[in-house]
């Protein structure tokens, strides 16, 4: 193994984790507010398509990312309207959202399968990008990569260092109490859902704008579900999302490299791994729960809030 290869592996892992980080950090805020949105995959694929279409027609990456956010938010708004205003079941609505998103993206994207775009170029930071080893590993990514990591920090800061973040967490833990002391549960939740949609949209667009310059039906290929698993894996702690995403992204990249070196690990085990770890984390959380020391799962997760007054 030479230096260049190790650098390539590290870059590969970071890039593979970014769509997961975006989607998971958005969903983390949604779940912290007590809403379970299983439509992440649907919001991601719609973002991937919207970003691709705008990039193809305008060549403007900023507009493309914006379009991806808006597309994700549009789908998320449907979910918000159904679950928060019409009080439908979160799980069923979220699943419907995923199927709807995959279907509509496949339909709307039919004519875009025959074209390619130019990838959004990586940033070149003078001096820093030219450093040996650290230059390529740390300072020569696409701007969206840095934004992803920054979003994690931003979400942590919002949730644990601002009043609104505290209210959001309170709503997620006990919406009746939060409502009783005068907080607008529905409004907080709708905003959280829209934020989740925007983040999932960017996560999807990262795939079609940065990882591969093409659009393909179902190109998210289950990443939305891995992101959902990641939120549980992180036990709803923002920084653990990064850890989980690096592990899950790392598994994919390392196993591809391992095959090149003829180290063979069964692919079936590897594709199980994200979900298996999620289950293990869930179990360990439950076990710890008995001692009432670490209750991180939002208490009202997935419960319908019906304001009585």
């Amino acid at each position: 193994m030479n230096e260049g290869l190790i650098i390539a592996i590290i870059i590969g892992i970071s890039v593979a984790s970014v769509p997961l980080i975006f989607a998971a950090i958005g969903e983390l805020v949604v779940e912290r507010s007590g809403v379970l949105n299983l439509g992440v995959e649907g919001m991601m694929i719609v973002g991937a398509l919207a970003g691709f279409i705008v990039e193809f027609h305008t060549g403007n990456s900023f507009l493309a990312v914006l379009a991806a956010m808006l597309a994700g938010m549009a789908i998320a708004f449907t979910f918000a309207f159904l679950t928060q205003i019409l009080l439908t079941n979160h799980v069923a609505t979220g699943l419907a959202l995923t199927l709807f998103g995959l279907g509509i993206a496949a339909f709307a994207g039919r004519t875009y399968t025959e074209v390619r775009i130019e990838l959004i170029p990586a940033t070149h930071i003078p001096l820093l990008s030219d450093l040996p080893i650290f230059g390529p590993i740390l300072f020569s990514y696409n701007p969206l990569v840095y934004i992803a990591f920054f979003m994690v920090f931003l979400v942590w800061w919002f949730l644990f260092r601002t009043k609104q973040g505290l209210i959001l967490r309170a709503i997620g833990d006990n919406h009746d109490a939060a409502h009783a002391i005068g907080h607008n549960v529905i409004r907080y939740r709708i905003l959280a859902i829209l934020f989740g949609g925007a983040m999932a949209g960017i996560g999807g667009a990262f795939l079609s704008l940065v990882q591969v310059p093409i659009w393909g039906e179902d190109m998210t290929a289950g990443r939305g579900w891995i992101a959902l698993g990641l939120v549980v894996f992180s036990s709803w702690q923002p920084f653990k999302v990064i850890l989980g995403a690096l592990i899950f992204g790392g598994i994919t990249i390392l196993q591809l490299h391992a095959q090149g070196f003829d180290i063979r690990i069964s692919a079936q085990y590897l594709s199980m791994l994200p979900y298996l770890t999620t289950i293990i984390v869930l179990v360990s959380l439950r076990l710890r729960d008995k001692s009432k020391t670490n209750r991180t799962m939002p208490n009202c997760l997935g419960r319908i809030f019906h304001s009585t007054s």
Binding site: G4, L5, A8, I9, G12, A16, P19, A106, G109, R110, T111, T113, E114, V115, R116, L119, L207, Q211, V212, P213, I214, G216, E217, D218, M219, T220, A221, R223, T252, I253, L256, H257, Q259, G260, F261, D262, R264, S266, A267, Q268, S271
Partner: protein, 360 residues
């Protein structure tokens, strides 16, 4: 009320009986239906089948009516869809391996309808099977790859370890070795037919490990675009992918179904259709290569063209001995070619010289 409904039902059935009668007497258009496993826009497998449909339409015009259903899952839905189509069509093409059992089952209940199943092996009086010797084209691109690599490492993104994919790897490797004894294959299994993100990751991994020519047996154009970004060469799969890598693209393997479909539908029209088993290749015109890139030097190009010519005349078999299996045990003696069944149809081993372990 119910009486009136009854008469109208009678009228309709009478009408359809008359229509059925006239259709036997007059040369009505042949009704053909296609069942696709993916979207037409996959730019690969299904796209090429649909090109075949367009070919038939352009040749038969009003003499044929074609309908198709896209993205039909290979489960119980398939049987329902094939059954629905069988009620109103003369011939049905089911274009994926997984449709085998449903096709046979539906064919039993519709003895007058003709069925054509792609890549399977189960036949009946009204069920034909057809496939192509895709490995012949891989033999040609193997030779090109052997010449074009400078690092002597050829990266291969494979989908699933099924005989079709294994045949492709072996054929390409033997051809590459025949022109470049130092060449080595790095094979990465993606365990998917279509996941652009993962295919791109695999391509990046192979390039980082020194591959400067990429081959793929997955369906998306992702690998071609990554090759373009990284400045290495690549071959397209199933359809012409040159637009996705103007500099990277050397040539693409192209499946040609049109003439076969035309012949089979014409046979139905002429009443000469019979249940057959077709495993066509370059010789039968079922496989071609797209135009070769200018980056391919003249001598390599002419060698590739000679090979194609030899294949098209049936003079070349990509598997011509002496060939040993990976473990060194003999497979084919000098000059020997393998029987189609079981050796080629069920191929489940690497040939000698490939370093990678055979996948479990």
């Amino acid at each position: 009320m119910s009486n009136r409904r009854l008469t109208s039902i009678l009228k309709i059935s009478l009408l359809s009986a008359v229509m059925a009668f006239t259709s036997n007497v007059f040369a009505d258009p042949v009704k053909a239906a296609f069942v696709y496993v993916g979207p037409i826009g996959d730019m690969g497998w299904t796209y090429q089948h649909h090109q075949g449909v367009e070919y038939v339409k352009s040749h038969m015009g009003d003499d044929v009516e074609i309908e198709y259903v896209e993205s039909v899952p290979e489960g119980s839905d398939a049987e329902r869809i094939i059954r629905t189509l069988a009620r109103k069509n003369d011939i049905i093409f089911t274009t994926s391996f997984g449709y085998m059992n449903p096709t046979i089952k539906v064919a039993e209940s519709f003895p007058d309808v003709k069925f054509e199943h792609a890549t399977g092996y189960m036949r009946a009086d009204n069920v034909s099977v057809y496939s192509a010797r895709f490995y012949e084209n891989r033999h040609v691109i193997g030779k090109i790859a052997g010449h074009m690599t400078n690092t002597n490492i050829i990266g291969y993104v494979a989908s699933f370890p099924i005989p079709e994919v294994i045949r492709g790897i072996n054929a390409a490797f033997l051809a590459a070795r025949s022109v470049n004894p130092d060449v080595q294959f790095k094979i990465v299994w993606a365990y998917t037919w279509f996941d652009p993100g993962k295919e791109a990751d695999a391509a990046n991994a192979l390039i980082a490990q020194g591959a400067d020519v990429l081959m793929q047996h997955t369906d998306s154009t992702a690998i071609m675009t990554i090759a373009e970004e990284k400045g290495v060469f690549a071959f397209g799969q199933a359809s012409d992918m040159s637009a996705f890598g103007p500099n990277a693209h050397l040539t693409s393997i192209i499946d040609v179904w049109g003439p076969y479909y035309l012949k089979r539908i014409m046979d139905v029209k002429n009443g000469t259709w019979e249940s057959t088993d077709t495993f066509g290749g370059t010789e039968e015109g079922m496989l071609v290569l797209s135009s070769m890139s200018d980056q391919v030097p003249e001598n390599v190009r002419s060698q590739a063209e000679r090979t194609l010519l030899g294949l098209s005349k049936g003079l070349i078999d990509p598997f011509t001995g002496p060939i040993n299996k990976q473990d060194g045990s003999p497979w084919l003696a000098a000059g020997e070619t393998p029987p189609m069944f079981p050796d080629v149809i069920t191929m489940d081993f690497y040939v000698e010289g490939i370093d990678s372990k055979y996948p479990d």
